[in-house]
């Protein structure tokens, strides 16, 4: 019995090790859900082919190789650069980590949930949905740019043609009347409330479909802003339809994309998350720039500014005029621009201080081998 037990132990040890190994592998490369992936340059998930170069314990900062590479490629002059030394690679990784600390701080402050951010993201989603629908329907099918163009136009027409557009007879008559009276080539300014005695208000809906509606005011504004040569004759139903098509196509494309569930597609979600991350990081920088601007009102600001000007008079405010003679930028005359220089400098300082405070006491892990 004792021998059997020993044999079992021996047999199960490799199995246990294997399971443990697999588990640790799964845990190491467990995919972070897209909506929790805090990246700025590349959204590829962590995987054996895309391992983590740097991470910060106790935070969600995790920089995989793809993010680091995309960051390096994004820098000015990246295409002309000779191979980087290890020291330079370390520097760049440190810079990228700084960006990630700001991003982390932005999420800690819940900047992503602020109204300005969520509104901008909703607007972005509209654009992304339209692109996603075109990509799905046209992308792989088109072999040439001409074909891509043709297919994209056909898609838009198809979606417009199948949509029910309800047009108000009264509003249509009103629009025709105004355009006839004003002459289409001149500027038409719809009245604030009504278009004249006994006529309809500019907010009256002219056309409505599943994607939204177009008021008399919207129509007149779009019509008059269109180049004269591309304004169809709206006296005819065909002309009216043609112009409504121009106005509603985008919205109908978005409605169609939503109906097809493209909102949940990986491509749209990924771009949405990247936009969210970029906005969240920017939110932290905005607060710093607000702080720098507020310094203007602090007592002693003017004296500080003057001191800064004096310190930088030689390096920044001395130039050669057209005769080659050295001239100094006068403080009083160029006050606004000197103040701008000073505030920008303050902002850079505050940013460095903020990053230092975020980094303080943090345990950063770097996989140096991946940088070599």
């Amino acid at each position: 019995m004792e021998i059997l037990r020993k044999m079992n132990r021996i047999r199960s040890l490799p199995a246990l090790l294997l399971i443990a190994g697999l588990l640790s592998h799964i845990l190491c490369f467990a995919e972070t859900p897209l909506e929790r992936r805090h990246r700025l340059y590349d959204m590829a998930p962590v995987s054996p082919a895309n391992p983590v170069v740097a991470s910060v314990e106790g935070t969600d900062i995790e920089i995989p190789l793809s993010e680091y590479r995309a960051y390096v490629a994004s820098l000015p002059g990246a295409d002309k650069r000779s191979p980087l030394s290890l020291a330079r690679k370390r520097e760049l990784l440190a810079d990228l980590l700084n960006e990630h600390f700001l991003l982390w701080e932005g999420y800690r402050q819940k900047i992503d949930q602020r109204e300005a951010v969520t509104k901008m993201l909703e607007q972005t989603k509209i654009i992304l949905l339209e692109s996603a629908l075109t990509e799905t329907e046209v992308g792989a099918k088109a072999k040439t740019p001409d074909e891509e163009d043709k297919l994209a136009k056909e898609l838009r027409s198809r979606i417009f043609d199948k949509a029910d557009i309800f047009v108000s007879n009264e509003a249509y008559d009103e629009v025709r009347k105004i355009i006839r009276a004003k002459n289409t080539s001149t500027q038409i300014v719809p009245a604030a409330t009504t278009n004249g005695a006994g006529t309809l208000p500019k907010g009256y809906v002219l056309a409505k479909c599943k994607a939204g509606s177009v008021t008399i005011g919207d129509f007149l504004s779009a019509y008059t802003q269109a180049p004269v040569s591309s304004r169809p004759n709206i006296e005819t139903q065909q002309g009216m339809v043609e112009f409504l098509k121009q106005m509603l196509e985008d919205s109908l494309m978005v409605a169609e994309a939503r109906e097809r569930g493209l909102e949940k597609s990986e491509a749209v979600r990924e771009k949405m998350q990247l936009n969210r991350n970029v906005l969240t990081r920017m939110g932290v920088l905005d607060e710093l720039s607000d702080k720098a601007s507020a310094m203007v009102k602090k007592p002693g600001f003017e004296a500080d500014l003057r001191r800064w000007y004096d310190d930088h008079r030689k390096s920044r405010y001395t130039y050669q005029d057209s005769t080659g003679k050295e001239q100094v930028v006068p403080f009083a005359e160029e006050h606004e621009s000197i103040q701008n220089d000073y505030l920008e400098n303050l902002m850079e300082q505050m940013r460095a201080e903020k990053i230092n405070s975020l980094r303080k006491g943090q345990k950063i892990q770097i996989n140096e081998k991946l940088l070599e």
Binding site: A73, S74, L75, P76, K119, M120, E122, Q123, T124, I127, L128, E130, E135, G139, P145, D146, E148, D164, I165, F166, S168, N169, Y172, G203, A211, G212, S213, V214, T215, D218, Q225, A226, P227, S230, Q237, L244, L248, D250, S251, V254, K271, N275, V278, L279, R281, M282, D286, D290, S293, R316, Y317, Y319, S322, S337, N340, D341, L343, E344, M347, E348
Partner: protein, 255 residues
């Protein structure tokens, strides 16, 4: 299909445009991605170029948020008719955007759609031009996946991603000495202090044009490399501002 019916009026959002003054910086111009409010909704209603459009994205049913969608379409007939010299602008323009001696920050957010094909040529999304006499001066463009501007030579401003809003702020302190600076997503990527930065030919003011200008479609006959790899090109724009400080011009920092 078009059906005519009578129905009730719905309430809709209106566009916003205005001028605001903050406690410190001054905002001289702002636009939330609408075609109204500019000196010219499209500076070049030249036959053929009018295939290019600058329109507001999203119907009013999506609420008060807009973006300016600038689209340009390559038109072989137009190019042939103009002996391949016709330009391809689709831009909104603000006249008298800045005078020599002033220090101004021009901010906006731009987005290349996800289906944008990068190519090795200049697609300009904003330009700063002298007004009297008028002419080209400073173009700011996308080439491959990087942003560039020509101020004292071509400045590489770093990468731009598709499908993601990119915030750009350009500072022009016009005159001699002048200053040029540029920020992308809050990072300063170019700084040229103490340079001569005056509009050419004695002009004292500049205009700001923004939208899309596919420069390479002029003077080229297809097929011509990757210049024609995409015949309809769109750039989205939003949160335009001209301000006296960086903080006020930064698109993500509107008050």
């Amino acid at each position: 299909m078009m059906r005519k019916r009578i129905f009730l009026t719905l309430a809709l959002a209106t566009t916003t445009f205005g001028l605001s003054i903050n406690s410190y910086g001054t905002v001289f111009f702002q636009n939330t991605g609408t075609v109204s409010g500019w000196s010219s909704p499209n500076v070049n209603p030249v036959p053929g170029q009018d295939k290019g459009t600058t329109t507001q994205v999203s119907s009013p049913s999506f609420g008060g948020q807009h973006s300016l969608k600038a689209t340009q379409i390559y038109d072989p007939a137009y190019s042939k008719r103009t002996s391949y010299t016709g330009g391809y602008h689709a831009e909104v323009v603000l006249f008298h955007a800045e005078s020599v001696g002033q220090d101004r920050y021009f901010g906006q957010a731009i987005m290349l759609p996800s289906d944008w094909l990068f190519h090795n040529t200049n697609d300009t999304f904003q330009q700063f031009s002298p007004e009297n006499p008028s002419g080209p001066w400073t173009l700011n463009w996308v080439q491959n996946n990087h942003l560039f501007i020509n101020v004292h030579g071509h400045q590489d401003l770093g990468a731009i991603q598709k499908g993601v809003w990119t915030r750009v702020v350009a500072r022009f302190k016009l005159g001699n000495p002048g200053t040029f600076e540029y920020w992308v997503n809050g990072n300063k990527v170019a700084s040229l202090p103490n340079i001569s930065l005056s509009p050419p030919n004695g002009a004292t003011t500049i205009r700001w044009s923004t939208g899309i200008y596919c420069t390479a479609w002029r003077n080229h006959i297809p097929p011509d490399g990757d210049i024609f790899n995409q015949l309809t090109r769109t750039i989205y724009h939003d949160h335009f501002r001209i301000a006296s400080t960086y903080a006020e011009a930064e698109p993500a920092n509107w008050h």
